[in-house]
Symmetry: C2
Subunit: 115 residues, 2 copies
């Protein structure tokens, strides 16, 4: 089965480094495809393909402007990502020894023994 489609899961869509670059670049403003491709050093078809994926998952919007197609950021779908990762915040804030202690406390507090 390989993996869920990149076009249906934001986590998967942003797994591609170049697509993350595109999103970052778009923070500083909308851009037509070619400009975007130039700035990121990718081919035009390459940019178009990535943009299509980003559009289908809803991370960018596009708008026609003359013969150009201007792409803009729609970061709302990134919020779940931020929150998901944020759910682990207390784990990276604690030092590792403390982390172990914390984990142990949870373990003994409310679960069946495992050793």
């Amino acid at each position: 089965m390989a993996r869920a489609a990149t076009t249906s899961d934001v986590f998967n869509a942003i797994a591609e480094p170049q697509r993350r670059q595109i999103l970052v670049l778009l923070r500083s403003g909308e851009r037509p495809v070619n400009e975007l491709a130039d700035e990121l050093g990718m081919t035009q078809p390459g940019a178009s393909k990535h943009l299509r994926v980003l559009r289908e998952v809803g991370l960018v919007r596009d708008r026609k402007e003359g013969k150009q197609r201007v792409y803009g950021l729609d970061a709302r779908k990134l919020r779940p990502v931020h929150e998901w990762a944020g759910g682990f915040e207390r784990f990276w804030n604690a030092s590792f020894d403390r982390l172990d202690a914390y984990v142990q406390s949870l373990k003994h507090a409310g679960r069946k023994e495992s050793r």
Copy 2:
């Protein structure tokens, strides 16, 4: 080229839903492979494979305990993900109309014209 190895990029490693589930589950405590597989309804080899990926990117650690191998969370690598997504916070906080305005202001403020 298909994509960068899942074992070298955290974003790619967490692109797999089941691996995210594993990480979430491990927040409540360390677990041996079988227990983890049971709780998530996956086969043992399946769990082992995902755990291997997570271990190679550094998201989990393992420790031998008798004949079991206990896996624990190491969420530090998730911090960059949280921060990356957080870099878009102002974009999802603003309403869309405001967003456009903001984007336009940036555009006119410091870049070469494009229309």
